[in-house]
C-alpha cells in the first residue's frame, strides 16, 4: 500500500493512508454502535427504576401455577416458572426438529419435481411453490389448524384404526410403549448392528478403492440395523407393553396423543419452508453443468450413481448456505405457535409467565437469548456440514 505522505500533520497523514483510515473508520463505527446500545440499555434501566421496577430473575423459582397440555418432561402447576420455560423450550425444539426434517424431505422432492421433464409434475411443483411461499405463514397455520379442528370428528365419533389408533379433532391418539426389562437386548442388537453397518461401509469403500468391487452396502446395512433387532424383538416374545388409548368420558385416556396444534404448526411450517427449500434445491442442481452428467455417463457410471456421486455432492455446495437460512427461519417462525395454542417457549415464559409475573423485560430477554442460542447452534452445525462438503482444493 502507498505510504506517500501528502502532509506533515500526523493525523491527516494517517487519514490519507488507506489501511489506517479503514481502521479509524471501523473504530468510530464500533464506538457509535456501542454508545447507542449503552444509551438504550441505560435508558431502559433508568426508566424502569422511575416506574419503580427492578430487573430480577428470582420469579423463575416461584411456582408457575398454570398447566401446560403438551409436556415432554415432568411438569405440574406446582412446578416453577423455570420448569415451564424448559417445557416450552423442549416443545420449541421438537417443532423445530420435526419441521426441519419434513421441510427438507418435501423441499428436495419439490426441487427435483421442478426440474422434471414431465410437464404435469413440473407444473404441480411450480404452482405449489408460487402459492405457498406467497401467503404468510401465520395464515397457513390458522388455515391448517381450522381445517383439522372443523373437519375431523369429535372424540366420540373418532376414526377408529384397528382399536389402537384413533383420529379426531383432539389429535391422533396412539398407544404408548412401556418397555419391559428384556428390551435391553433389542437396544443392544440395534447398537451392534449400527456399529457393524458403519464399519462395513468403510470396509466396502476400501475394497472398492483397491479392487473396484462394489459391495451391497445398503442391503447389508438394512439387515444389520432393522431386520436383526426386529428378529431379536420377536424372538424374546415382544418385550414391550402397549398402553392403548380408550374413550373415557370427554376424551381418550391412556396412550399418547399428537395434538392438532402440533400437527397444524408442524405441517404449516414445513410445507411453507419446503417451498423455499425447493427453489434452493433447483438452483443447486442447475448450478451443476450438464457436462458433468455426460462425462459420468461416458465413463459408464449408471444414472442413479451419477446423481448420487456426481451431481448431488456438487449441488449441495450451492444448496447448503441458503438452506441454513431456511432452517433458522423455520425455527424462529415457530414462535407463531401461540396463535393456535401450541405451548412453545414464547407461549410459556414469554406469554403466561410474563403476564402472571409482570416481568416483561426479563421474560423477553430470556426468550431472545433462547432464540439467539438456538439460531447460533443451527448455524454452527450447518457451517460444519458446509465445510465438510466444500470443494477440497489441491
Amino acid at each position: 500500500m502507498s505510504t506517500t505522505s501528502y502532509n506533515s500533520n500526523p493525523i491527516l497523514r494517517a487519514w490519507y493512508d488507506k489501511e489506517t483510515r479503514s481502521v479509524i473508520v471501523q473504530v468510530i463505527a464500533m464506538a457509535i454502535i456501542l454508545a447507542f446500545f449503552a444509551y438504550v440499555i441505560n435508558n431502559a434501566v433508568i426508566n424502569m427504576a422511575n416506574l419503580g421496577k427492578d430487573i430480577s430473575f428470582s420469579f423463575l423459582w416461584q411456582p408457575a401455577s398454570y398447566d401446560i397440555n403438551q409436556t415432554l418432561i415432568e411438569y405440574s402447576s406446582r412446578s416453577s416458572h423455570f420448569d415451564a420455560m424448559i417445557v416450552g423450550l423442549i416443545n420449541t425444539l421438537l417443532i423445530a426438529a420435526a419441521g426441519i426434517v419434513l421441510s427438507t424431505i418435501v423441499g428436495f422432492i419439490l426441487g427435483v419435481m421442478r426440474l422434471s421433464n414431465n410437464w404435469l409434475t413440473q407444473k404441480i411443483a411450480y404452482v405449489y411453490i408460487e402459492f405457498v411461499r406467497n401467503v404468510p405463514v401465520l395464515l397457513h397455520i390458522l388455515l391448517i389448524h381450522g381445517f383439522i379442528i372443523y373437519s375431523l370428528p369429535r372424540p366420540k365419533q373418532a376414526i377408529n384404526m384397528g382399536d389402537t389408533f384413533f383420529l379426531n379433532n383432539r389429535g391422533l391418539q396412539m398407544p404408548s410403549a412401556d418397555f419391559q426389562p428384556l428390551f435391553w437386548a433389542v437396544t443392544a442388537t440395534f447398537v451392534i448392528g449400527l456399529s457393524f453397518a458403519i464399519w462395513y461401509r468403510r470396509y466396502a469403500k476400501k475394497l472398492q478403492d483397491t479392487t473396484g468391487k462394489i459391495s451391497p452396502v445398503w442391503t447389508i446395512s438394512f439387515i444389520a440395523v432393522i431386520v436383526a433387532p426386529l428378529a431379536i424383538y420377536f424372538l424374546l416374545g415382544s418385550p414391550i407393553e402397549w398402553d392403548v388409548p380408550a374413550l373415557k368420558g370427554f376424551n381418550f385416556k391412556g396412550g399418547m396423543v399428537i395434538r392438532p396444534e402440533f400437527i397444524a404448526l408442524w405441517l404449516a411450517l414445513s410445507l411453507y419452508t419446503a417451498a423455499f427449500i425447493g427453489e434452493n434445491v433447483r438452483a443447486g442442481i442447475m448450478a451443476v453443468s450438464h457436462g458433468q452428467t455426460e462425462a459420468a455417463h461416458a465413463l459408464g457410471v449408471s444414472s442413479s450413481r451419477t446423481l448420487r456421486l456426481v451431481v448431488i455432492p456438487q449441488a449441495l455446495r450451492v444448496i447448503i448456505p441458503p438452506l441454513n437460512s431456511q432452517y433458522l427461519n423455520l425455527t424462529k417462525n415457530s414462535s407463531l405457535a401461540i396463535a393456535i395454542g401450541y405451548m412453545d417457549v414464547v407461549a410459556t415464559i414469554g406469554g403466561i409467565s410474563l403476564n402472571q409475573t409482570g416481568r416483561e423485560m426479563e421474560c423477553m430477554l430470556i426468550v431472545m437469548a433462547i432464540y439467539l442460542i438456538l439460531s447460533l447452534l443451527i448455524s454452527a452445525v450447518m457451517n460444519w456440514f458446509n465445510d465438510r462438503i466444500r470443494l477440497v482444493e489441491r
Binding site: 426508566n47 422511575n50 398447566d67 379442528i149 414464547v346 409482570g358 416483561e360
Partner: protein
C-alpha cells in the same frame, strides 16, 4: 409477530417512560385534547366497535365518562385495543392514560405491576360455558375435559387450582384471543370454554344458537373488575376513582342522564348530597383539578351506573346479565360508593 409487537412496546416504553414519570397525566390529557383509553380487542357488551366503527360497551362508557369529566367531550377518547397480555405494558408505557378492560384487581398487579386500581365497577367470578348437549350440571363433573382458556388472565391460575384441589384432570388449551378461543370451542376442540362469567355471557351471545349452551352455576373465583391507572400520579388516580364513584352514587341518589341538568330547579335540587355531586355546592371539582360540573358532564354523557349497565349488558341486551351482586347496596347488592363530600 407478537414478539415483534412486544419488542416495539418495550422500545416505546424506553422512549416514553421518562416523560410518564414526571409530567402530570391530567395535563397531558388536556394538552392532547383526548383520553387514551386501554380497552379489549372486542368483548361484546363490554368493549367492541359497532357496525359504524364506533366503540360501544360497558367499559367504553366508563372511558367516555372520564373523558366527559376531564375534557367535557365524551367522544374525545382514543381507544387502544389490547390483548390480555399487552394491556399492562400498554398502560405502563404511556400509550394509554387509563385502563378499563375487564381487569381483575389483585395484589401482585397492584403492587408488582405498579398499578393503582379504581373502584370495582363489576363484581365477577370465573365460570364455565358448556354445550347443553353434554348434560353436565356442575364443574366437578368435568374430569378429563379439554378446556379452552384465553391466555394472559388470572383464568389459568384459577383453573389449575380448581382442578388440582378437586383432584380431577383436564387438558388446557391456551389461546391468545377471545375470537380464536371461541373458534376452538365452536369447532369442538374443547368441551368447555372458561373465563369470567360476564365474558361467558358476552361470548354466548355471539354464538349461532345461544340456547344450546349453558353457563354452569359454579363460580370458581372472585374477580372484582375495575379500571386502573399507573402508580405515581395520585391526582389522576383520584379523578378516575371519583368519576366511577360519582356514576355509582348518581344511581343511588336517583340522578340520571335525563334529570341531571334540571336538578337545580327540582325538589331533589335541595338535597345537599346531590348539590355536592352536581357542583352546585362545595369545591369538589376544584379539589380534583376539574371544573365544578365534572360529574354532571360525566352523567349527562353516559348516564349513571344503572343506565350504563342496562344499555350494554343488562337483561334486555344480547349479553343478558342480571344485576345480581352488582346491584346497589340498598337493593341487596354490594355496590357501595364512598360519599362525595
Amino acid at each position: 409477530m407478537k414478539l415483534i409487537n412486544k419488542v416495539f412496546t418495550g422500545l416505546a416504553m424506553t422512549a416514553m417512560a421518562a416523560g410518564v414519570a414526571q409530567a402530570s397525566t391530567l395535563e397531558d390529557v388536556k394538552a392532547a385534547g383526548e383520553l387514551k383509553c386501554v380497552v379489549s380487542t372486542g368483548v361484546a357488551g363490554f368493549a367492541a366497535p359497532n357496525a359504524d366503527g364506533v366503540w360501544e360497551g360497558f367499559d367504553v362508557d366508563f372511558c367516555r365518562a372520564v373523558a366527559a369529566a376531564v375534557l367535557h367531550d365524551a367522544n374525545a377518547v382514543k381507544f387502544v385495543p389490547t390483548t390480555g397480555k399487552t394491556r399492562f405494558t400498554t398502560l405502563a408505557s404511556g400509550e394509554g392514560d387509563i385502563l378499563f378492560r375487564n381487569t381483575t384487581e389483585t395484589l401482585s398487579r397492584d403492587v408488582d405491576l405498579k398499578l393503582t386500581f379504581l373502584p370495582v365497577n363489576y363484581y365477577d367470578g370465573q365460570g364455565f360455558l358448556v354445550p347443553a348437549s353434554l348434560g353436565v350440571t356442575s364443574a366437578v363433573e368435568l374430569d378429563g375435559a379439554s378446556v379452552c382458556i384465553q391466555t394472559g388472565t388470572t383464568t389459568e391460575l384459577n383453573l389449575a387450582d380448581f382442578f388440582r384441589t378437586n383432584n380431577i384432570s383436564y387438558e388446557p388449551v391456551a389461546i391468545e384471543t377471545n375470537e380464536e378461543g371461541l373458534t376452538n370451542y365452536v369447532a369442538g376442540r374443547c368441551d368447555v370454554y372458561t373465563t369470567d362469567v360476564s365474558g361467558l355471557a358476552a361470548t354466548r351471545s355471539k354464538l349461532d344458537n345461544p340456547a344450546d349452551h349453558v353457563v354452569l352455576p359454579d363460580v370458581i373465583s372472585k374477580e372484582p373488575l375495575g379500571g386502573a391507572v399507573r402508580h405515581g400520579d395520585d391526582q389522576w388516580a383520584d379523578i378516575g376513582k371519583w368519576v366511577v364513584n360519582a356514576l355509582i352514587a348518581a344511581e343511588e341518589m336517583g340522578v340520571n342522564s335525563k334529570n341531571v341538568k334540571n336538578l337545580a330547579s327540582s325538589a331533589e335540587g335541595k338535597l345537599p348530597a346531590i348539590n355536592r355531586l352536581t357542583g352546585a355546592e362545595g369545591e369538589m371539582g376544584a379539589m380534583l383539578g376539574l371544573s365544578s360540573d365534572w360529574a354532571v358532564q360525566a352523567i349527562s354523557a353516559v348516564g349513571n351506573y344503572g343506565e350504563i349497565f342496562e344499555r350494554n349488558i343488562g337483561v334486555n341486551t344480547p349479553v343478558g346479565l342480571s344485576r345480581g351482586v352488582n346491584a346497589q347496596w340498598k337493593d341487596g347488592g354490594i355496590l357501595y360508593a364512598a360519599p362525595i363530600r
